[in-house]
């Protein structure tokens, strides 16, 4: 049976390879449709498709100011529109009326000046509302532009304010620094003055002491000189006295000697002799005076060791204290306030799913139309292939083979499955290479929903082959079903455009699950986990279709 299965599988592949129209339908046709649809609907998603020409936006710069210049730079940087400069708003209106372009952006004179002066600036948007999508995108773009310009202006003003504040802060810091420095210098000066005063005091004390010492020395010298002179004078003037006294003393001693000799000589009569006359007794003071050392005498006269205390007698000079500087109590200069403009309400759009902000139209069309053509190809391939077998008579021949007829059907479905997988791989590769479609972080994960939708489509082809009794009825039956499934399932446009009830209905179609998985993997850049559930649903649909198809097809065969 396996050998028969392989043979049937190979046969069906050969049949397909020999069927050039079918090959074209499977490959060229979807690429052409994807290309045409992609470029045709390029403006639907706001972002230009790769290789497509974005719509023209006329720009009228009556302002000749920075604002229009910024707007032009910004718009030319993006790929949403092509900017064409026209001379005046009249020409712009004319071109819009002539159906040439959809919108014109006009910067009236004075716009930049008004904005710079803090007044509102007005920008005009001329449109042709009939070009709805184009205008909608331009409106969005202009709103974004306006917001960006406002933000840029605010940012610039903020920068200026911040710069001024920085300067003020720097001046404030400089002032405080100068104040601190001044205070420090003043303190240092005051300390220097105090030191100088101390030094003056010291010097004065020293000078006073030195003066006192010098005075004392002079006085002492003068006293010594005087004492000397006094001593000399006393010596000189007491010398006769001393000489008299010495004579007197010598005379006395001689008299006494005489008396002694007289008495000795007179013996006992000496007593009876009358006393010799008495020499006058010298007053002690004269005796002391005569005996006194002239210096001592001088000292006694002049006063001995007179201690001169000149220092205490020198006048004291009070050096005034260094006055305290007045405190430099400068008023506290507050720091300049933070430069704050009234805040703007920013709308921060975050793609929490990982999808880019703007979609490439091919991000939608490549998987969508690939699924559509996949289903059409599989449906026609399976159903017409089975009807071909019937018409050729080979179906009966297959039924008389020893291998189970189901094996032949499975081989046919299997070959179409493989072809479907290859078809999807080719179309995704073309989308990736030619149209820049993202295959997500795990391109291999695309194989899961692809296998699911190919399986479901293949099995559905069997259902159609069983329902449609003739070749003529395959196309209407199949195409109605597939077109409906593709359209509602979000193959041709984002399913979010559909009303809620239709989206609920769409859950009954395998296309919905396939597109859900593709959108998660390719647009939202999610990993394989996102595709597991849709893939399981697709295989469940496929199993259901296969069971129904086999039952119906067997019944169909029995009835013919």
């Amino acid at each position: 049976m396996v050998q028969g299965l392989i043979a049937a599988f190979r046969k069906d592949l050969l049949l397909l390879l020999r069927d050039r129209p079918a090959l074209i339908f499977l490959t060229i046709a979807p690429i052409v449709v994807i290309t045409v649809a992609g470029f045709s609907l390029a403006s639907l998603y706001g972002s230009s498709a790769q290789g497509s020409t974005p719509p023209v936006l006329l720009l009228v710069d009556e302002d000749r100011g920075r604002l229009a210049e910024l707007a032009r730079e910004r718009l030319e940087k993006g790929d949403e529109v092509r900017i064409q400069i026209v001379a005046d708003r009249g020409e712009a209106a004319s071109r819009i009326r002539d159906d040439d372009v959809g919108a014109a952006l006009i910067f009236p004179a004075g716009t930049t000046a008004a904005v710079a002066a803090g007044r509102p600036g007005q920008v005009l948007l001329y449109t042709d509302p009939a070009k709805y999508l184009q205008i909608a995108n331009v409106r969005t773009l202009v709103q974004e532009l306006r917001h960006e310009l406002e933000v840029a202006s605010r940012k610039k003003a903020g920068e200026h304010l911040a710069e001024a504040r920085d300067q003020a802060l720097a001046a404030h810091a400089g002032f405080e620094s100068a104040t601190r420095e001044f205070r420090q210098k003043a303190e240092e000066f005051r300390a220097a003055l105090a030191a100088m005063r101390e030094e003056i005091v010291d010097r004065m004390t020293e000078a006073r002491k030195r003066a006192a010492d010098e005075l004392d020395e002079d006085i002492a010298s003068a006293a010594t000189k005087r004492s000397t002179r006094v001593r000399e004078r006393l010596t000189r003037e007491l010398a006769p006295l001393k000489a008299f006294l010495a004579d007197l003393s010598a005379t006395k001693r001689q008299l006494e000697e005489w008396q002694r000799q007289v008495e000795e000589r007179v013996g006992p009569v000496a007593k009876a002799l009358p006393p010799p006359p008495r020499l006058p007794v010298l007053p002690p003071s004269i005796q002391s005076l005569a005996a006194a050392d002239p210096e001592e005498l001088a000292n006694r006269v002049l006063g001995a060791s007179i201690k001169f205390q000149t220092l205490g007698r020198l006048p004291r000079v009070a050096v005034p204290r260094v006055p305290d500087f007045p405190r430099l109590d400068l008023p506290k200069i507050p720091q300049p306030p933070e430069a704050k403009f009234p805040g703007t309400v920013e709308v921060e759009e975050t793609s929490v799913t990982g999808a880019p902000k703007r979609l490439n139209t091919f991000d939608q069309n490549v998987p969508g139309f690939s699924v559509t053509f996949l289903l059409l190809g599989i449906l026609l391939g399976v159903s017409l292939g089975l009807l071909d077998e019937r018409d050729w008579g080979t179906l009966d021949r297959l039924r008389t083979l020893p291998m189970p007829f189901t094996a032949a059907i499975v081989a046919k479905l299997g070959s179409r499955f493989v072809v479907g997988m290859l078809q999807m791989a080719l179309l995704f590769a073309v989308g990736w290479i030619a149209f820049g479609v993202s295959l997500g972080p795990q391109p291999w994960a695309l194989a899961l929903p692809t296998a699911g939708i190919v399986f479901a489509g293949t099995a559905f082809g069997l259902v159609v082959a069983a329902i449609a009794r003739t070749r003529d009825s395959v196309l209407p039956v199949g195409s109605i079903v597939i077109v409906t499934m593709a359209a509602i399932g979000g193959c041709w446009w984002p399913i979010d455009l559909e009303p809620d009830w239709m989206r609920r209905v769409a859950l009954a179609f395998p296309t919905t699950w396939a597109m859900s998985a593709y959108n998660d993997l390719m647009i939202r850049r999610q990993t394989v986990e996102a595709a597991l559930m849709p893939t399981a649903v697709l295989f469940a649909y496929g199993a259901l279709y296969l069971a129904v198809g086999l039952v119906l097809f067997r019944r169909h065969l029995r009835s013919t």
């Binding site: 050969l14 020999r18 009966d396 021949r397 083979l401």
Partner: protein, 328 residues
Amino acid sequence: MPFVQYLRAVGARISVEGLRKQYGARTVLDGVTFEVGEGEIVGLLGPNGAGKSTTLSILATLVPPDRGIVFVAGHRLPDRARAARGAIGLVPQRTAVYPTLSASQNLDFFVRAQGLSGGRAREAVDWAAALVGLGERSAEPVERLSSGMRRRLNLACGILHRPPVLLLDEPTVGVDPQSRERIFEAVTSLAAEGASILYSTHDMDEAERLCSRVILLDEGQVVASGTPAELVRGTGMTPVIRLRMSVTLPDGWNPDIFGARVLERSGAELALAVADAAAVPTLLMSVARAGGDVLDLRLHRPNLADVFFQLTGRALRDRGDAGAVAGA
């Protein structure tokens, strides 16, 4: 089913008894009974709608019978249809091959689908291709082949596995004489190798030439069966000579030949029944004597079509030559 009858049915390659098939209210087969033995070529004759294809479809396990006992290669249908399929070779009326594939690709597929592989498969393909005379053109896509070559391929695809039971459904429709001969040779060869062949046709010449026995089917019923000669003989029909002359023979002219009688006179044209075709020279002399100048002569021997017409009053083909032969 009685045991003896059962053994007989199992012994025959094809055994059909009391076969009945209905599609809705329309009875397609009603009590059809026949057998085909080993190495036997049995013709199944009947006009369109007689039930030939339905009979073949039942034998080929494509359609289950409503009633009746059917054995193919010892397997009762439809219960043991899968087992029987390995013994069946079906050659459908249409050229049931893949037109976009080449002849060799078709053969290769069908031989592998029959479970053969490797050298056995190649050998079988070569044998079948040689038997039907596909020759050098087996690499060409079928759609480029002539009708005759397609018919040969159609036959080859059905005999790749050398089936003991071969079901041929008008295998020579629309073919050139060369291909027809080649098909005949192949069928004969297969029968000679022991294949039991049920040959459905409404061409009595084919049946008479190939088939050892013929089953005449009409409106789902077997109206007669036997060898062609037996069938013709059984109806008592004789050859008919048709003459066209330059002048009208006199009234009352009689050929005066034993067993001959005038069937029809219309001006200068004359139809006569004769007991034996050997009477033609005598007849011509008799006409000449009567002053007739024979411009055209046609001799029609009774055949299976005549038998069928005789039995059913209807022609085997729409454009049949009913009435060409004289009834007994």
